[in-house]
């Protein structure tokens, strides 16, 4: 695996494929304490106009975090991590998290982040700053 120091502008980050299901959403509700019924109760989510339960945005962001931490390893740390939730993610979707290097300063990599579902709709966009430890 190549070192963070060797990443240059426009290089792509290792992708992460994720297939959320009801079991994981329930497990995440318990681990995070977010029991908002739009994630757990299909009837409630329909009445709220969401067309059925949706996955926690923070669980989708956590997949992006997993992609980044797997990639960064012990070579650095996140200093900034921003995301926008653009489309709802639902149990049964297949999500591909990806990213690329947007800019590079001495010790910092600025990365563009995106996640798409199996219908090729973008569900998340974002930005991360990674501080490289030397």
């Amino acid at each position: 695996m190549k070192s963070l120091l060797n990443y240059q502008v426009s290089d792509r980050l290792p992708v992460r494929i994720w297939a959320p299901d009801h079991v994981q959403v329930r497990q995440y509700a318990e681990a995070s304490g977010d029991f908002n019924p739009i994630h757990l109760d299909d009837d409630y989510a329909r009445q709220a106009g969401l067309g059925g339960v949706i996955v926690h945005g923070m669980l989708t962001m956590a997949q992006m975090a997993a992609m980044l931490t797997d990639w960064i390893g012990k070579e650095g740390g996140l200093s900034k991590f921003n995301v926008r939730f653009e489309q709802m993610v639902r149990p049964g979707d297949t999500i591909k998290c990806s990213g690329s290097v947007l800019a590079r300063a001495e010790n910092t990599l600025v990365c563009d982040l995106e996640a798409h579902n199996h219908k090729q709709e973008r569900v998340l966009s974002g930005l991360a700053h990674i501080l490289i430890q030397r």
Binding site: N36, Q63, F85
Partner: protein, 132 residues
């Protein structure tokens, strides 16, 4: 009822602890590798000090945006204090109809009082239905 009058309201300070067992559960639920460092999104789920006059998130609210800034790594086992503040409330028309956006900033401090992280969450409240 959410309105402009909530802008500037602040929670009390709450203590947040990164308890190894709970962090491990969080990493298992998300697939983030467990290490001595707190997973990047974990603080958002803990920093839930109540803000007088409003209970957040309201049922049915969805998450629009989340921004995190880390001034240093956060370690499993340490304790922080955090405070939440309502930065903005505004209405927009979206694909969900007339909705209200609430922007909440969370600041986390270590025990020496240094700022160690900030978070900005944009939450979206659905249109109020008749009878509510």
């Amino acid at each position: 009822m959410i309105g402009k009058e909530l802008i500037g309201k602040e929670s009390e300070s709450v203590v947040i602890k990164f308890i190894p067992e709970l962090v491990r559960r969080f990493t298992e639920a998300t697939g983030i590798p467990y290490s001595d460092q707190v997973p990047p999104t974990y603080v958002v789920t803990l920093a839930l000090g109540g803000i007088p006059g409003i209970e957040l998130p309201l049922p049915g609210m969805i998450h629009g945006e989340q921004k995190m800034t880390y001034l240093r790594p956060l370690y499993v086992g340490e304790s922080l204090t955090s405070k939440r503040r309502i930065m903005d409330v505004y209405e927009r028309t979206s694909k969900l109809g007339r909705v209200t956006f609430v922007v909440i900033k969370t600041s986390g401090y270590d025990l020496t009082g240094d700022l160690v992280f900030t978070s900005s969450s944009t939450l979206i409240a659905p249109e109020r239905r008749v009878g509510e």
